[in-house]
């Protein structure tokens, strides 16, 4: 099944998951067209971020499987209930209650959005033990991840960036799953580890590099917590070179964790050059197109990193 965008992948998959499992309920405001089919299982709540996330937990604890759709820029307002209650409930209550809430949020950097509406919080939420965090690069993977999360035991945060300008690549390999990365391009010279829609920029940069004889292997991390770093380590045996690409800022980002895991593994000895990270600048993301593109990474930046590593400069 192919989808034109994340929105379509989301709405069609949620509807299908709801048809298959009568315990799935949806909390959010974008599914009004499904209200007729699902009736009270489409729940709209008044504003109140703590309310929505806490109510989702209450639903999960009483046998429902809630899917909570929230605007990504409000994630920090939900963070209290997500990090302090949903993510901790299984441990605190010694698994007496189910806390499998699926949360879907559209985050990431978007042109003409300004600092408040351009935030990429994935690394923040990877700091919440008990919460799985996934970030698909394309709509098909988002659909697969919603299905995977629906059968996952525990809360899952699915992130997307619907505003990312990219031609989505329908990527090869098995269906995306919570906890698993995916090898999306084989190559022998440089390993690129990335996640989110910027993976598509990695692919186009790798296409350009291929024309000059450089073969990049690309791993779409998909699962950020737990971080599936093993395939990256395996790939480094072959390539000895690593570029990590993500939209969000470099410091304390997912790339920092991946670098640390590489440094703590045997892969440190496979590396024949330093690790490069292509990320956004360490600053709030501005509104204007010109300032936005200066602050955020793109295909060109990735290509530069590829050339830098292959020429050993």
């Amino acid at each position: 099944m192919t989808f034109i965008d994340f929105e379509q992948a989301f709405s069609e998959t949620v509807a299908s998951v709801m048809r298959n499992d009568g315990s799935v309920v949806y909390i959010g405001d974008r599914m009004t067209d499904l209200a007729e089919e699902f009736g009270q299982r489409i729940i709209s709540l008044p504003y109140g971020e703590n309310l929505a996330a806490s109510a989702a937990l209450g639903l999960a604890m009483t046998g429902a499987k809630p899917i909570l759709r929230i605007p990504g820029e409000l994630l920090l307002r939900y963070a209290d209930a997500i990090g302090n209650e949903i993510a901790l409930a299984d441990t605190a209550y010694d698994s007496q209650y189910d806390s499998s809430v699926i949360i879907i949020a559209d985050i990431g950097y978007k042109e003409f959005s300004g600092p408040h509406l351009s935030q990429s919080f994935e690394a923040v939420f990877c700091q919440f033990p008990g919460l799985a965090v996934v970030y698909p690069s394309n709509p098909e993977d988002e659909a697969s991840l919603i299905r995977s999360a629906a059968s996952y035991n525990g809360p899952v945060l699915i992130l997307e960036n619907s505003g990312f300008e990219a031609a989505y690549n329908s990527l090869p390999g098995p269906a995306a799953m919570v906890g698993r990365s995916k090898l999306v391009r084989e190559g022998t010279d440089i390993t690129i580890a990335s996640y989110g829609p910027i993976v598509n920029s990695c692919i186009s940069a790798a296409d350009l590099a291929y024309a000059t004889g450089i073969e990049c292997e690309i791993i779409d991390l998909i699962s950020l917590n737990p971080l599936d770093s093993r395939p990256v380590i395996e790939s480094l045996k072959k390539t000895g070179k690593l570029i990590i690409v993500h939209e969000s800022r470099k410091a304390c980002g997912v790339g920092a964790e991946l670098s640390a895991q590489i440094a703590e593994s045997d892969a440190l000895f496979y590396l024949d050059s330093k690790i490069l990270r292509v990320c956004s600048k360490d600053q709030p993301i501005p509104y204007s197109k010109a300032d936005f593109s200066k602050a955020t990474p793109n295909e060109e930046d990735i290509l530069k990193a590829i050339i830098q590593l292959s020429t050993g400069e």
């Binding site: 937990l57 209450g58 604890m61």
Partner: protein, 322 residues
């Protein structure tokens, strides 16, 4: 409604268990078995009566000060002693601690040491019950401090919109940590907040257990029948410190003495004796029996924790001999 004799005695029994459990829990903690500061409910035990007014299928949620609610719901005290000292036999396997306690056998959907997190959860549980066509109420207990949080009002608003039977039981114990309630609310009765939502707001004497039992019964009945939330505010007093580490420098002894003289356990005991439900001697015997039982349960919990430790210590010694 005139409460029957048996119920009155059962309520007193639970209140006494709560008081004596807490006193023993304090001793257990002071012995070094736990480092967790305890949020005791001494003085507020009549809230147990509100829990006893519920049916087994009703849902219960609480905040951090929860021993009286847990015991009122029927959680065995030994499970709480075990939890307190971090034993795997505790109510949450020693993983959550008492301030996070939950018990799925009793539809006790948990507590949290973070204030006001129960309110939104209550809405989710009530939504679930509605989807399942269940006629049960959600009893959501919280303090006067928690009732000043945005989460409280968000939850009531949603419960009104979705026609959810939830009783928000506000335990107004005159303080939120060291802050007097008068510095937290601009009204004398938190229950008057209900007017803005168009729902009933009821005030009850929180040191009159029978009144609490009856008010809760009425609130639950009204809430289920009319499918709306109700705020029930119980006026009581926290005789203990905010936690067991509290030096209580912020309040006058005279205030405490006044409330000791209006103690909920004494009030109910007097009712029982004056109405010929029981004799003073019976009540003294009941108290002594519970006290001994709490001591025994606490020692057993401690012993069960020490056993594996002693076993592992002796193993180390054996190893050293070789």
């Amino acid at each position: 409604m005139i409460i029957d004799n048996q119920t009155a005695v059962q309520i007193l029994y639970k209140m006494l268990i709560t008081r004596l459990f807490e006193q023993e829990a304090y001793r257990l903690k002071e012995s070094g078995a736990s480092k967790a500061p305890l949020h005791l409910s001494i003085g507020q035990e009549a809230t147990s009566a509100a829990v006893m007014a519920l049916s087994p299928d009703d849902a219960i949620l609480a905040g951090h000060r929860n021993f009286h609610i847990l015991i009122g719901a029927g959680v065995p005290p030994e499970k709480l002693f075990h939890e307190l000292i971090g034993s795997p036999e505790g109510i949450c396997g020693g993983k959550g601690g008492c301030f996070a306690a939950a018990d799925n056998m009793l539809n006790f959907y948990g507590s949290s040491p973070l204030a006001a997190s129960q309110f939104g959860k209550a809405v989710g549980i009530a939504l679930s019950f509605k989807l399942q066509g269940k006629q049960s109420v959600v009893a959501c207990f919280g303090g006067d401090g928690a009732a000043a949080s945005g989460a409280f009002y968000e939850a009531i608003n949603a419960a009104c919109l979705h026609e959810l039977p939830i009783v928000f039981f506000v335990e107004n114990n005159c303080y939120a940590a060291s802050m007097p309630t008068s510095q937290i609310h601009n009204v004398a009765d938190i229950a008057t907040r209900a007017a803005g939502f168009g729902i009933p707001g009821i005030v009850v004497d929180g040191n009159d257990a029978i009144a609490v039992y009856e008010a809760m019964g009425q609130a639950v009945g009204y809430s289920i029948e009319n499918r709306i939330p109700v705020i029930l505010e119980s006026k009581t007093y926290r005789l203990s410190g905010h936690t067991t580490d509290d030096a209580l420098e912020y309040r006058d002894d005279s205030e405490i003495v006044d409330w000791i003289e209006y103690d909920a356990i004494d009030n109910l005991s007097r009712y029982i004796i004056e109405n010929g439900v029981g004799l003073l001697d019976d009540l003294i015997m009941m108290r002594e029996r519970i006290e001994a039982e709490m001591q025994q349960l606490s020692s057993q919990a401690l012993l069960s924790m020490q056993k594996p430790m002693m076993a592992s210590q002796s193993k180390t010694l054996e190893g050293a001999n070789i």
